[in-house]
């Protein structure tokens, strides 16, 4: 069986060398699977883009709420104006 040189220049049996290589290959496999699984989980859209999109959606919600409040306030103001006008007209008749 062929001998393998160790890092320190010593000699180790081929079996041990193969075991070492096998262990390193297993580590490489773990790395490959981890990269594949994580990138598949993260998807094609970057986190920064996703966060920016969420921020834009929140801003749009806020501005929609603000507009709805403004419309509501304007409606209440118009109603109040009409009522006071009616009262004034009624007062004029009396």
């Amino acid at each position: 069986m062929a001998d393998d040189r160790t890092e320190t220049g010593g000699v180790q049996t081929g079996g041990a060398g193969r075991q070492l290589l096998g262990s390193l290959a297993a580590a490489a496999l773990i790395v490959a699977v981890a990269i594949w699984a994580v990138t598949a989980k993260l998807g094609p859209t970057s986190i920064a883009e996703r966060e920016a999109a969420e921020e834009r959606a929140e801003e749009a919600d806020d501005s929609r709420e603000e507009k709805a409040e403004e419309i509501e306030e304007a409606g209440q103001g118009a109603q109040a104006g009409e009522e006071s006008g009616r009262k004034r007209r009624r007062g004029g008749r009396n």
């Binding site: 041990a16 075991q19 070492l20 390193l24 773990i30 981890a34 994580v38 993260l42 986190i47």
Partner: protein
């Protein structure tokens, strides 16, 4: 620095960090398994203690390099934010214990009996640090 790191990762700094940190966390599990074989706690017909220990050392060197890259990406881009206090604390502890373990392996041989405890501590700190920052993006 931030621009450089963003250019280096093509604007995907968080993703690169998540991938590298996950790779390191998984390799940490493998490292514990290798040393269980290395110390003879687990006997496998296809792996002897010596090659297991040598593989542990080689993979450990790679893990340290990748961990430093992740630390540089993290500190260089995100800095020390107040709302990441736990993550910063865990990562700091990890780097300190990892540094001390390397010192024991390479220089302080008389403290070699501490290596199993240091190894388990490093393993737990790797996973705690990973959970404190990366898990929220994956689950």
């Amino acid at each position: 620095m931030e621009d450089f790191l963003l250019t280096l990762t093509r604007g995907n700094l968080s993703e690169v960090k998540i991938v590298l940190a996950t790779v390191v966390a998984l390799l940490a599990v493998y490292q514990v398994a290798l040393m269980a074989v290395g110390y003879g706690k687990i006997r496998l017909p296809f792996l002897d203690p010596l090659p297991a220990s040598k593989a542990h050392r080689a993979i450990g060197d790679s893990i340290v390099a990748v961990t430093l890259v992740v630390a540089i990406l993290c500190i260089g881009y995100f800095g020390f934010e107040d709302d990441s206090a736990i993550h910063i604390l865990l990562a700091g502890a990890l780097l300190a214990v990892l540094g001390f373990k390397i010192l024991v392996v390479r220089r302080l041989h008389r403290l070699g009996h501490l290596l199993p405890v240091l190894g388990i501590t490093v393993f737990l700190l790797f996973w705690a640090t990973w959970l404190s920052a990366v898990a929220e993006h994956l689950f």
